[in-house]
């Protein structure tokens, strides 16, 4: 069995999760601080990949990445980067696509913390950054973990966008979900079954781990 699609999926999901952790933490914190119109609009935009068909994102990314016009042309002419049909392009797409899975849980966890905790820290002269890192963050540990697990699992499960902008290149953009589709279309059901079983078991373990980790809280890891 060719392991490269599985390895590629794991690599894509790991990098995406790490990047989203760096982006998601400050973003979720900023969103949790108030209810201005900008925050509302931005939060709506972040949540949209949850409900939009992947084909919408795939279509716009295809146009945006095209080396013949717009951003794609600029990237190609200035840095000689072509994002479409490349692994970095998949990472960018996954970051956008999985953004709500990272930001959502962290933001709602932050909002559920009593406001007095941060206020107490401020009165003792601690900076906002220190308060976030040493008071707020340790108290939402489990939510952050859940968000990471769900982001990871969701990226492993990504399909439609990759199908549209990936180009099915072995070792570069042929991730596990695409390899399965490919095998089914080629009527190679044995290979499709091997990959599918592996993904099934793998994601089951990941999601179960998240449930176990949160069992004391007795709530769904989706919250």
């Amino acid at each position: 069995m060719d392991w490269s699609p599985i390895w590629l999926s794991v690599k894509l999901a790991s990098i995406t999760t790490l990047l989203l952790l760096l982006i998601g933490l400050p973003l979720a914190y900023w969103l949790s601080k108030g209810r201005s119109v900008i925050r509302l609009v931005l939060e709506a935009l972040i949540t949209m990949p949850l409900v939009l068909p992947p084909s919408v994102l795939g279509f716009y990314l295809l146009l945006a990445f095209s080396p013949q016009h717009g951003v794609g042309k600029w990237l190609h002419d200035t840095f000689n980067i072509q994002l479409v049909f490349s692994f970095p392009g998949l990472i960018l797409a996954s970051v956008i696509y999985s953004l709500p899975f990272m930001v959502g849980p962290i933001k709602s966890a932050l909002q559920q913390l009593p406001a007095s905790w941060a206020q107490a820290s401020y009165t003792m002269g601690k900076s906002e950054q220190e308060t976030f890192l040493k008071v707020l963050l340790p108290n939402i540990r489990s939510s952050v973990f859940t968000a990471m697990v769900m982001t990871f699992a969701h990226t492993i499960g990504e399909f439609g966008v990759v199908l549209m902008i990936g180009g099915n290149i072995p070792g570069q953009t042929k991730v596990a979900s695409i390899a399965i589709y490919d095998a089914v279309e080629g009527m190679d059901y044995g290979t499709a079954n091997n990959y599918s079983l592996l993904l099934f078991a793998f994601t089951f373990v990941i999601v179960t781990t998240a449930f176990i980790f949160n069992r004391n809280k007795a709530k769904s890891p989706l919250e």
Binding site: L62, L63, F65, S66, P67, Q68, H69, G72, Q82, V84, F85, L163, G167, N168, I169, Y181, D182, V184, E185, G186, M187
Partner: protein, 249 residues
């Protein structure tokens, strides 16, 4: 209860109308995407039977048919897939060639495609789209041609694979690839509004793309399916196919 009765009547009427509407489902290879609608309109004018085209790569359609998809006729992009269906007992008729496909190389960029074999190694050409050879006969032909010209290994890092010839067409017309190997019907399609630069791939470099068709066992409307099957070999169907760049046997 009284008020429900008229609604029920209308519902039942609507149901009976939709089941008796004369249409057949035609599973058509992706290279036929634009011409199939024209063929369908012409067939309807002549026979009163409409067609519902379902397009995709030939391999995908065969996988669907082998698993019970309720299609009436299958128009493939090669002969192997219809022959496989006939062998496995999914076909009602013997496979017949209805057209020969013509492979072209195509681009939105201003490239000298007449000399494309030299061009592909050039830095000017960034990505090259071909269809997945396992399921799309045009992809198979493109791969064969590249291998014959001793280019396949050299350009492999530049290749991107479309799941059907339609996806290759998307890659070409949006300009995300420099060049792509596709069907001539793309450039002969009046609906295509992208300005395309193209050249024929020498037919000596690939085995002829004999496109075959069969009537399917699963057909719910065999009489009309047979009519369409016969129509595809008629003079009027041939002239439409010819207009779209197909070679008629």
């Amino acid at each position: 209860m009284k008020s429900i009765k008229p609604i029920l009547t209308i519902l039942l009427l609507a149901l009976s109308v939709s089941t008796h509407a004369q249409t057949i489902k035609v599973a058509a290879a992706a290279n036929l995407q634009s011409v199939i609608k024209v063929l369908g309109d012409d067939f309807k004018k002549r026979s009163g039977v409409g067609i519902e085209p379902i397009t995709g790569s030939s391999g995908k359609l065969v996988a669907q048919i082998s698993n019970g998809a309720p299609y009436d006729v299958f128009l493939s992009a090669d002969m192997e897939f219809p022959q496989k269906l006939a062998k496995d007992g999914f076909a009602e008729s013997q496979p017949v060639v209805y057209a020969l496909g013509s492979l072209i190389i195509c681009s939105t960029e201003n490239l000298n495609l007449k000399k494309w074999p030299q061009l592909l190694n050039n830095d000017q050409v960034n990505k090259i789209a071909i269809a997945n050879a396992a399921i799309a006969p045009y992809g198979r032909a493109a791969q064969e041609s590249l291998a014959k010209l001793d280019l396949l290994d050299k350009v492999k890092p530049k290749l991107v694979y479309g799941e059907s010839i339609s996806q290759v067409n998307t890659y070409i017309t949006t300009g995300v690839v420099s060049v792509g190997f596709t069907t001539q019907s793309l450039v002969n399609d009046p609906a295509n509004q992208t300005k395309l630069n193209w050249a024929l791939v020498d037919p000596k470099t690939y085995s002829p793309i004999e496109q075959g068709m069969v009537v399917l066992k699963n057909s719910a409307n065999k009489a009309d399916a047979q009519k369409f099957y016969a129509y595809m070999s008629s003079a009027s169907a041939k002239s439409i196919l010819k207009k779209y760049g197909y070679i008629i046997p």
